[in-house]
């Protein structure tokens, strides 16, 4: 048995060693993630442009200005619609699709083929997906319009990305096209971890597939459902690339989201302080979602 001072020394040495091993990772996070996020909050209290030497301290005026900016409400609403549709498709629909593929309704070979086909869009760069769908959605010459013409639905034809009523929905649709299959594959992994005999027992009792889904699959993958829901909501909050590529927030700011609004303010309109204010709002919404997740996981 080592005596007390030896023990303390050993603990101290391990502590020091522990810190050394995590230091590089911590350094990266502090310098490139947390530090800038805090600096950003400070920036939001000033009014300045990229080149200006004078920073006007404006306190919370940027926030007041944001609150009164009609574009802010549009953006916030669009993020919310984005989240609602994404959760429905990527959690609801994806889970049902995964349950069907895992229930051996199809022969193995076809089930694998379906999984690969539905997974495929998720490996493509968002930019390429956005540009390809832009071409597909082009009025008259695009594939979607041609399908509508050929099937006698010509009256539905429109400039999906060019009209304020449809632009954001077209973008959201493309995002569902890209990610539903990926989340489905995640759920398939989770469903495979649910004990088989639960299904067998219910089947002996004569339960239908739908009953098995509600009573075994859903409770069995509850943890995954929670995490995927949070990730999807966070993803809808920070969405930027697909919107920027497909509509850049237009036409007439109708498809603006917080990310595009922030980016435009900083790098197009040169209002750095105002842009930081938008980023700070994104920060606090993300923080709230994160805290809710921690709370929900603890309550379980």
């Amino acid at each position: 048995m080592p005596d007390r001072s030896d023990h303390t020394q050993a603990t101290l040495r391990q502590s020091l060693q522990g810190w050394l091993w995590v230091a590089p990772a911590l350094l990266f996070l502090v310098v490139f993630v947390y530090g800038p996020a805090l600096t950003n909050i400070r920036f939001s209290m000033f009014s300045f442009s990229a080149m200006s030497l004078d920073w006007d301290f404006v306190g919370l005026n940027n926030y007041l200005r944001l609150w009164n900016d009609p574009k802010f409400m549009t953006a916030l609403t669009n993020n919310a619609i984005y989240a609602a549709i994404s959760v429905t498709c990527q959690v609801g629909v994806a889970l049902v699709l995964a349950a069907v593929l895992e229930a051996r309704v199809f022969p193995n070979f076809s089930a694998n083929l379906f999984r690969t086909a539905l997974f495929l869009p998720s490996i493509l760069p968002v930019v390429v997906v956005g540009l390809v769908w832009q071409l597909l959605l082009t009025p008259t010459t695009g594939l979607i319009d041609q399908i509508l013409w050929e099937t006698g639905l010509a009256s539905w034809s429109r400039a999906w990305l060019g009209e304020p009523d449809t632009a954001i929905f077209a973008v959201i649709f493309v995002s569902q096209w890209q990610w539903t299959g990926y989340i489905m594959a995640l759920f398939m992994v989770a469903i495979r971890a649910v004990p088989r005999d639960l299904y067998e027992a219910m089947e002996i009792d004569g339960a239908s597939g739908v009953q098995q889904f509600w009573h075994i699959t859903v409770p069995g993958v509850r943890e995954t459902i929670l995490i995927v829901t949070i990730i999807t909501i966070l993803g809808s909050l920070k969405v930027f690339d697909i919107v920027w590529v497909m509509t850049a927030g237009g036409p007439n700011h109708s498809s603006e989201v917080l990310g595009t609004m922030m980016y435009r303010a900083a790098f197009r309109d040169d209002m750095i302080g105002y842009s930081s204010t938008i980023a700070t709002v994104i920060f606090f919404i993300a923080l709230t979602i994160g805290l809710v997740q921690i709370k929900l996981q603890k309550d379980r």
Partner: protein, 280 residues
């Protein structure tokens, strides 16, 4: 076994309906890519005349035109940024995970929370201050301007994955090695790293896909053709070629060909790797 896993009450009609649904979804997911590759061989006029059909004449020169427009350089830049990011990220995450699993030290739980917490913050939140740092330090418009933030924003999830895997490695292995007089660095290198190979492959794949497709840093922190990655490259490409759809589509097709080919050859490993972490 297989019978027990199927829905017993499923009528033939239901089965047909499910087939129809999945076939439709599969076509919707795959056809846009087929459409892209077929139309990449057409002239703009052919495309307007018949966007459905096979090309009447296969215009292979669309691809060489696109290649010479700079796609090759963008692909190279993406390769450099992606491989550097993955190597640095995996090294740092594996080290941190090792300490978090096997060593006992003060504030360990707090440090883990701090690392994981980074996953919540969207890149937008750090973008403007980072941009200023890049400009002031001269990192702006270099590979490092993309590599460093990409590493930082990837670390939380990568550390999470590797740590979860390491907790499954029996502690007795380390204790036995300690008895034999091995230090932590040696145990890390000779015991833990070899055992972690499967999760390192998965985490590396996830990280590589994320960096290869990364957009907002690439849009903000670089501007020269010589450092632009393929995601931003195709954007400028698309602006320059608005009128020449055939060449534009050939360029888009070329830009995704490396990923697509790898995916089709190794789809099982791909799906398996990209979905690891789905269950704890």
């Amino acid at each position: 076994m297989a019978a027990a896993r199927s829905f017993p009450a499923l009528a033939l009609l239901n089965r047909i309906l499910l087939w129809a649904v999945f076939l439709t979804l599969a076509v919707i997911c795959v056809y846009p890519m087929i459409w892209l590759f077929l139309n990449a061989f057409k002239t703009t006029n052919d495309m307007f005349a018949a966007t459905w059909g096979l090309p009447k004449v296969w215009h292979w020169e669309n691809f060489s035109t696109a290649w010479n427009y700079g796609i090759s350089r963008y692909l190279l830049n993406s390769l450099v940024v992606t491989s550097a990011t993955v190597v640095i990220e995996l090294s740092l995450a594996t080290m941190a995970a090792y300490a978090l699993v096997v060593l006992n030290f003060r504030a360990k739980a707090a440090i883990y929370t701090l690392i994981l917490g980074g996953a919540i913050l969207p890149p937008e939140v750090s973008l403007i201050p980072l941009f200023r740092v890049m400009a002031e330090t001269g990192l702006y418009n270099t590979y490092f301007a993309l590599i460093l933030p990409n590493v930082a924003f990837g670390l939380p999830f990568t550390t999470f994955l590797i740590r979860a895997y390491m907790t499954g490695i029996p502690g007795e292995l380390r204790e036995a090695a300690l008895m034999d007089g091995a230090g932590e660095a040696r145990i890390f290198r000779e015991v833990y790293l070899p055992l972690c190979r499967p999760i390192l492959a998965s985490a590396g794949l996830i990280s590589a896909m994320r960096v290869w497709n990364e957009f907002i840093f690439a849009l903000t922190f670089v501007e020269s053709e010589s450092v632009k990655t393929v995601t931003i490259g195709v954007m400028s490409f698309a602006v320059a070629l608005r009128a020449d759809w055939g060449v534009l589509m050939a360029g888009l097709a070329l830009s995704i060909l490396p990923i697509l080919a790898t995916f089709l050859v190794m789809q099982r490993q791909f799906v398996g790797g990209l979905t690891s972490g789905a269950v704890k």
